[in-house]
Amino acid sequence: MESKDMVRMANQIATFFKSYGAEEGTKEIATHINNFWEPRMRSHFFDFVAKGNTGFDPLVLAAVSMIRKPADHATQQGDLPKHGEES
């Protein structure tokens, strides 16, 4: 995903929840991202946040600590379905 699209999507979410004030709003933003963003999207998000220069809505940045850090899973070589190689 292009970073600008990811930033736009996060900011769109923030724009909706902004109406609920800073405290509730940030919580809702985090919940939304935790519920709907697949781990590699969240990784992309964290990488981008870590770089500093982001373009994120302040509410998104305020929500960062509540967003679940994805375990490095599922997109690693050798990470395979548990039912094994052959049946």
Binding site: M1, P39, A74, P81
Partner: protein
């Protein structure tokens, strides 16, 4: 055996007062207002009739149904005479017999006597009545004045004779066989609501006229088939019956087009479908149909159908036909090697809203268990995903609140972003019937659709809003209602969360939400918005119906919540005649969502992160589910371009044509190493596929579809799968080949498993549906016979939650380079990407996609009606034909995406709904210029069409 519903002659009376009378010595009690004819039929007495049928109001023109009533003079028509307490009716006497015989004699004196070679032979009410009244001869002879023969002896040319009208591709109209009973005219008026037919002339010159006597195809006829069904003779007959003869058995099944989900009788000869006839006992349609379901099923046996599995290494190679085993092994091998290389999350799949619940369920199960990730999504992503999100936030469940029948009790109907006469025609007919009976209508749509004004229908308010300003309009409506004190205080106090309500009140009262403040933004006069708001709040039962014009926006989910707010504010939830009703696009889009097709939730809308729910599935499925949400379709495509998503299984969906920003979609598909497509045809997406699994048409499927009313209808197999396997079988075998044990013996077993794991489906089984005809979920211990209406005593979430819906303009705005706004939609005769309807005669109505443009915008650009024009956005360009029409407002243009060569989605952008990533199809800034050549994309498409769809010779 042919299934034949009982014809009671006249419609059922809705009265509650009962009346007892005597017919031929038998006592019978019926509701007040019932006709004598109907009362007699309830006793099993068939009074002879020709002009009466119970789908139409009684008319009293044929004079066959005469009866005698003790103490009353004359012989009244039983169809137009209501029952009365204590009357004694005789349906047969010498006098009645002679009268009826005399009437039949007159009919037959002006009717061809070609019964043996007539297409209606065996299915002709005129023939039946001649038999019933005992007609033995016709004293008048056949040489007199008549409509039957082209030439008359001694007279020459017969001016009354009219040639057969064969202009409609699906049925013929033979005036020589017409008895002018008016059933077709009344069906067109009362059932369909198009008013295309009339009786022209008087007396013996009376005849049925389509439009201005211009033939069916040139008239306003929409080819719904209601007239054909109503015709008691061979005058209106399906061409398929003329060609092949009368069917010998029938099977009740469900249409595979839109989300209305009409029930049809597939009338068959062997395994050859002769015709599809709407089923009167079908809950969704109650005997009505549209041109698609009724007639456009020929694609199922079209020569383009692929019936053998095919594989290839590169997408530029020709396809190689192989056996099922090889194809499945090839796909599984590809997926497994991708997972070895790029990890478990590098593959995924898409379920189809055109497939059955059972087929969808097994695909998501395969992805979650055999692929062992949650990268599963469905076409609802690009249509009604905001409905799911918005309604569950406010009401607690994501489906529509009513059944279709509910519209009969609506007083004010608010249509937003939907064009039911084209997209959901059978529902539109029901709605128009209610409007003709007095309900008021408000339409919010940039275009002047047929709902805004058509014969005997006129919206009280048309709010022609600018695309992208839905939320502004719905906020303004609520603002007016609240600030003028028109809200339903009792409902809000009793049924809604009052803390949330007072929060919302502070927001909505703000003058920035007033229609005056938003006028410049929406383009709708503040006065009209105020008028519409007052009407909706005070006009009685208010019902909201909406379509993709609501959801396919950056603020799609916000808008859904805005409408839910409006319904709660006015107390329009939880009873007949009200509600928030999404008009679902595809036949089983509701079902596909119910079956757990979204990457974040399991069947029954339960989040994948819920440990208790996951444990249940782990046990039943014998697997270990991943607790993380998977990728949604647009995320899959992005991940493919990024190189972390390499393989996809696509069940019956054509993302290369239907999804936005085509170039991005095809780049993603090209970046993948294993694309498996399961479909009827080599569709646009199949041009990028490595494995093709031939699918089954709805006529070959066994299972269920769930329509927009949450109604689970049976799809019954009427013929064997042409490619030899059920789709769920293929999927189960693929799962097996991937190393996960999945096996079912039949579709009923799959539904039993769905019922086991999904609380809202706990009471559903094929047996239950067989008993009830259909059942609306939730169906469980609390509602053993299903739930036609939701939120009756309380909301599913407990208290209804008003959500704050701030209007935020979309970033996609008209500018100097792209000064017009393009919005997209559909038309009546075609369906979605057109894969089915383009392979039928429906293309006679819509052979190509056209660009609708306002005369002023056209003039400014030197565009004449019918010119080829280039349509460009910042994303891409295409070329199509212009249609100049005042249905469009200035500054907004419109097209459909039924034909792949149009490439309407080459234009659409990457913007999407904030909550669900549903693409913003409805707003794209564009420019239009005269053009004389296809766009670059279209040239590439032509090449690809040629190259990528080749099949190697044996």
């Amino acid at each position: 055996m042919i299934i034949k519903e009982t014809d009671f002659g006249t419609p059922k009376s809705e009265a509650t007062q009962m009346v007892t009378l005597e017919i031929d010595g038998h006592s019978i009690t019926v509701p007040e207002g019932t006709s004598i004819m109907r009362a007699a039929m309830e006793l099993g007495t068939k009074i002879p009739k020709l002009c009466a049928t119970d789908s139409l109001n009684s008319f009293g023109s044929c004079r066959l149904c005469l009866v005698e009533i003790e103490g009353r003079k004359g012989t009244p028509a039983s169809c137009t005479t209501p029952v009365a307490a204590g009357i004694k009716v005789k349906t047969q006497s010498d006098r009645l017999g002679n009268l009826r015989k005399g009437v039949m004699e007159l009919y037959i004196s002006d009717h061809p006597l070609d019964c043996l070679t007539c297409a209606a032979n065996g299915d002709c009410e005129l023939q039946d009545m001649a038999g019933a009244v005992g007609l033995r001869d016709v004293r008048y002879g056949y040489d007199g004045d008549n409509h039957v023969s082209a030439k008359r002896e001694g007279v020459g040319e017969n001016f009354r004779f009219k040639e057969k009208d064969e202009s409609n591709p699906y049925f013929t109209f033979d005036p020589a066989k017409c008895i002018v009973c008016s059933r077709c005219v009344r069906a067109c008026e009362e059932v369909q609501g198009t008013f295309a037919l009339t009786i022209d002339g008087r007396g013996f010159a009376s005849h049925v006229s389509a439009g201005m006597d211009e033939g069916f195809m040139a008239s306003e006829c929409v080819s719904c088939g209601a007239c054909v069904q109503a015709c008691p003779t061979a005058t209106l007959t399906e061409k398929s019956v003329i060609k092949k003869g009368q069917p010998e058995h029938s099977v009740v099944t469900t249409c595979a087009y839109c989300g209305v989900g009409c029930s049809f009788k597939a009338e068959m000869k062997g395994d050859d479908v002769i015709r599809m006839v709407p089923y009167k006992d079908g809950g969704a349609n109650e005997g009505h149909s549209c041109v698609k379901g009724r007639f456009a099923w020929g694609y199922a046996t079209h020569k383009d159908r692929v019936t053998k599995p095919m594989i290839r290494t590169r997408i530029t190679d020709p396809w190689k036909e192989v056996g099922w085993e090889e194809a499945i092994a090839h796909a599984a091998g590809g997926f497994k090697s991708i997972q070895r290389k790029y990890g478990r999350g590098s593959i995924g799949g898409i379920t189809s809203s055109r497939c059955t619940n059972e087929e969808v369920y097994v695909v998501q199960k395969m992805i979650r268990s055999a692929f062992q990730n949650n990268n599963v999504d469905t076409c609802a992503r690009v249509c009604h995903s905001p409905t799911g999100y918005g309604l569950s936030k406010t009401f607690g469940t994501s489906a529509g609140t009513q059944n279709f029948k509910s519209v009969e009790k609506a007083d004010v109907i608010l249509i937003i972003g939907a064009n039911p006469t084209d997209g959901h025609p059978v529902f539109a007919s029901r709605m128009k019937k209610r409007i003709r009976a007095g309900a008021k209508l408000i339409v919010a749509d940039p275009r002047k659709t047929d709902s805004v004004r058509s014969p005997h229908i006129e919206a009280s308010f048309h709010l022609p809003l600018r695309p992208g300003t839905n939320v502004a309009i719905v906020n303004a409506l609520s603002h007016v209602i609240l600030t003028e004190g028109l809200e339903n205080k009792a409902f809000i106090a009793e049924r809604c969360d009052t803390v949330e309500f007072s929060r919302w009140t502070n927001f909505i009262r703000d003058p920035k939400n007033s229609p005056e403040a938003l006028e410049a933004e929406t383009g709708v006069s503040a006065e009209d918005v105020r008028g519409a708001a007052r009407l909706f709040a005070t006009g009685g039962n208010g019902a909201i119906y909406y379509g993709l014009g609501v959801t396919e926006h950056s603020q799609g989910s916000t808008m859904v919540m805005g409408m839910a707010n409006l319904a709660m504010l006015t107390g329009n939830i939880g009873r007949e005649g009200v509600g928030v009703n999404p008009l679902r696009g595809q036949n089983n889009v509701q079902g596909a969502c119910d079956m757990g097709s979204f990457p974040h939730e399991l069947p029954g809308y339960r989040h994948i992160s819920d440990n208790v729910v996951r444990d249940l599935f782990n046990k039943v499925w014998n697997t270990t589910l991943d607790s993380e949400p998977g990728l949604r379709i647009p995320n899959m495509l992005s991940a493919a371009v990024d190189g972390t998503f390499k393989g996809i299984f696509i069940q019956g969906e054509d993302i290369a044509q239907s999804d936005p920003n085509t170039n991005h979609v095809t780049a993603a598909l090209e970046a993948m190493e294993m694309v498996v497509v399961q479909d009827l045809f080599l569709n646009e997406t199949a041009a990028f596929a490595h494995v093709f699994f031939p699918g089954t048409s709805f006529l070959e499927k066994d299972g269920t579809f769930t329509n927009a009313e949450r109604r689970i209808n049976r799809v019954r197999q009427v013929k064997a799968p042409m490619q030899g396997k059920h789709e769920w079988q293929v999927v189960a075998e693929l799962a097996q080949a991937m190393g996960y044990d999945m096996k079912y013996n039949n579709a009923a077993e799959i539904m039993d498993e769905i019922a086991l794991v999904t609380p809202t489906f706990a009471g559903v089984s094929f047996k239950k549906i067989e008993e009830m005809g259909s059942v609306q979920w939730p169906c469980n211990e609390k509602a053993p016979n299903g739930t036609p209406m939701m939120h009756v005593d309380g909301f599913v979430r407990g208290k209804g939650r008003f959500m704050i819906t701030e209007y935020v303009p979309t970033p996609e705005r008209a500018n100097r380079d792209f000064p017009l706004i393009l919005t997209t939609g559909r038309i009546l005769s075609q369906y979605n990407v057109g894969a089915q309807t383009r392979r039928t005669e429906n293309s006679s109505w819509h052979p190509e996609d056209v660009l609708e443009i306002h005369p002023h915008d056209a003039e400014l650009r030197g565009i004449a009606d019918g010119d080829m024009v280039s349509l460009t956005s910042r994303i891409g360009g295409t070329t199509l034909r212009a249609l100049i029409t005042e249905r469009m407002p200035q500054g907004v243009i419109y097209t459909t995406f039924h034909h792949p060569v149009t490439g309407a989605n080459v234009i659409t952008t990457e913007y999407s709904d904030w909550a669900t990533n549903c693409p913003e199809y409805k707003v794209t800034a564009v420019q239009v210029r005269p053009s004389n050549q296809p766009s670059e994309w279209q040239k590439d498409w032509e090449t690809r069409e040629e190259e990528n769809k080749r099949v190697a010779a044996e």
